[in-house]
């Protein structure tokens, strides 16, 4: 089926298979369509179908609340074409400069709990995928509506056939239920990616600030690994704020401590505990990680000390934390154009 897109920057067309969403079809063929979460929650990939038949995979998607289905409004990430379609997209589109995202199959293996409700797992890909630090993928299984977005934790300088992901268990999450339920299980899934524009490249020549809540640290780990591999902290400062509820909810401390060790004294990592007073006794193994009490964006606000002037900032976490973090960053001198995040929750 042929999809024609009329956007603010002109007309494009691409083929769309029966089993893929319109967003995935456009992206994999190298057309930069607007999106952020690619999983039905943010609403960024809205479009209006002017003609053609299509099917919505998830009519109640949170990102669809402002749409008018009677006028043909759709979320491209949750819609499959049933005939040739003409769409109007209220945004800019462009041709992808790098390698476009693609669909792969993958096998989930090595599920290991990191805390009581966070686990890490490996995803072995059917063919290797090159990605930028900070990007994410969408994992699909037949019983998951919308797909789920996960940031890569690892970074590889060449295409990777194994990616590491972090999962937060949600009380009613089906996907997390089976991941936490049977750790020996290996599951075949479909993967689409890499996606996301909140990326880090060492040629940026700016300091880095990361503010992450809980499993939001995943993408920051990739960014820090990329920076360490390039010895970026020899000449730039890095400031990381990692928010968790209590000491029992901390994870990746060994890895963060190692990053600090390798940073020539230029990377500062603060663990912000929102629901417990910090105890240095429980942190004696990590003398180079700082501890603070409070919500992570408030801790960042107090400790950034105007260090944002020449920095790029990355944010990942639940929406109220993201809002608070933006506020903290702006008031510490970070400019709007230097704040990067992908809204996926």
């Amino acid at each position: 089926m042929k999809i024609s897109v009329q956007s603010k920057s002109g007309e494009h067309s691409f083929d769309c298979g029966e089993h893929e969403t319109i967003l995935h079809a456009g992206l994999r063929q190298g057309l930069n369509l607007p999106y952020e979460c690619a999983t039905g929650t943010c609403g960024t990939c809205r479009a209006r179908a002017m003609s053609g038949d299509y099917e919505s995979l998830w009519k109640e998607a949170p990102g669809a609340v402002r749409l008018k289905p009677e006028k043909g409004d759709i979320l491209m990430c949750q819609t499959r074409a049933r005939s040739d379609c003409v769409l109007r997209v209220p945004a800019e589109t462009s041709v992808c400069q790098g390698t476009p995202p693609a669909r792969r199959s993958g096998v989930i293996r090595n599920i290991e709990p990191l805390t009581k409700d966070v686990a890490r797992f490996d995803l072995h890909l059917s063919d290797p995928m090159a990605f930028e630090a900070g990007q994410f993928i969408v994992v699909e299984t037949p019983d998951l509506r919308g797909g789920r977005a996960y940031s890569m934790v690892n970074f590889e300088s060449s295409a990777a056939d194994r990616i590491e992901l972090v999962l937060k268990q949600k009380p009613e999450g089906k996907f997390s239920a089976w991941l936490f339920g049977d750790r020996k299980r290996e599951e075949n899934v479909t993967v689409f990616g890499p996606l996301g524009r909140a990326v880090f490249r060492p040629n940026e020549d700016k300091d880095i600030i990361c503010i992450a809540g809980g499993s939001g640290i995943a993408g920051m780990m990739s960014i820090l690994e990329r920076a360490i591999c390039a010895d970026y902290f020899k000449t730039h400062k890095g400031t990381v704020f990692f928010g968790v509820r209590s000491h029992a909810d901390e994870f990746y401390l060994d890895e963060l401590a190692e990053f600090v060790e390798l940073s020539h004294g230029n990377l500062e990592v603060t663990i912000a505990l929102s629901h417990e007073a910090p105890s240095s006794a429980s942190h004696h193994e990590y003398p180079n990680l700082k501890l603070a009490t409070g919500m992570v964006h408030e801790v960042a606000q107090k400790n950034l000390g105007g260090r944002g002037e020449n920095a790029i900032a990355y944010i990942a976490g639940p929406p109220p934390m993201v809002d608070g973090a933006i506020r903290s960053l702006l008031s510490n001198g970070v400019t709007v154009g230097s704040i990067r995040y992908d809204k996926f929750s």
Partner: protein, 121 residues
């Protein structure tokens, strides 16, 4: 034209946004350091309440939801902002903020009105 007192200037501290009711509708007063602006209480993008989502730094008002922002001195749109702010004419006099609020200023949103063929605006 008539001037209506909105608040005392001291009620809105520097680099902050505060909501007030006048003539049966709401406005927000923004103190951007070099002056004050009186504007509708929502972001023209997706109706976020600016009293909560608005941040004022270096004369710029930013809505933290999707980072639309405006220079409050020049009223220039910055970054990826696509709609201008609507502004009530205002003045500071004798320690109070006055504005011309005879007519409520409202933004047009896509999902209002009979037709919204301005999908691309």
């Amino acid at each position: 034209m008539s001037w209506t007192k909105i608040c005392d200037a001291s009620e809105v501290s520097e680099n902050s946004v505060k909501k007030f009711s006048v003539n049966g509708f709401s406005v927000v007063v923004v103190n951007y350091g070099a002056g004050f602006r009186v504007i509708p209480p929502i972001c023209p993008h997706m109706e976020e309440p600016l009293e909560e989502s608005g941040v004022v730094v270096r004369c710029t008002l930013t809505c933290t939801k999707h980072l639309w922002c405006w220079n409050l001195q020049t009223l220039d749109m910055q970054g990826e902002t696509e709609k201008p702010l609507k502004i009530y004419e205002s003045k500071e006099e004798g320690g109070a903020i006055f504005a011309n609020v005879e007519q409520e200023l409202v933004y047009e949103f896509e999902d209002e009105g009979e037709d919204d063929d301005d999908f691309f605006k």
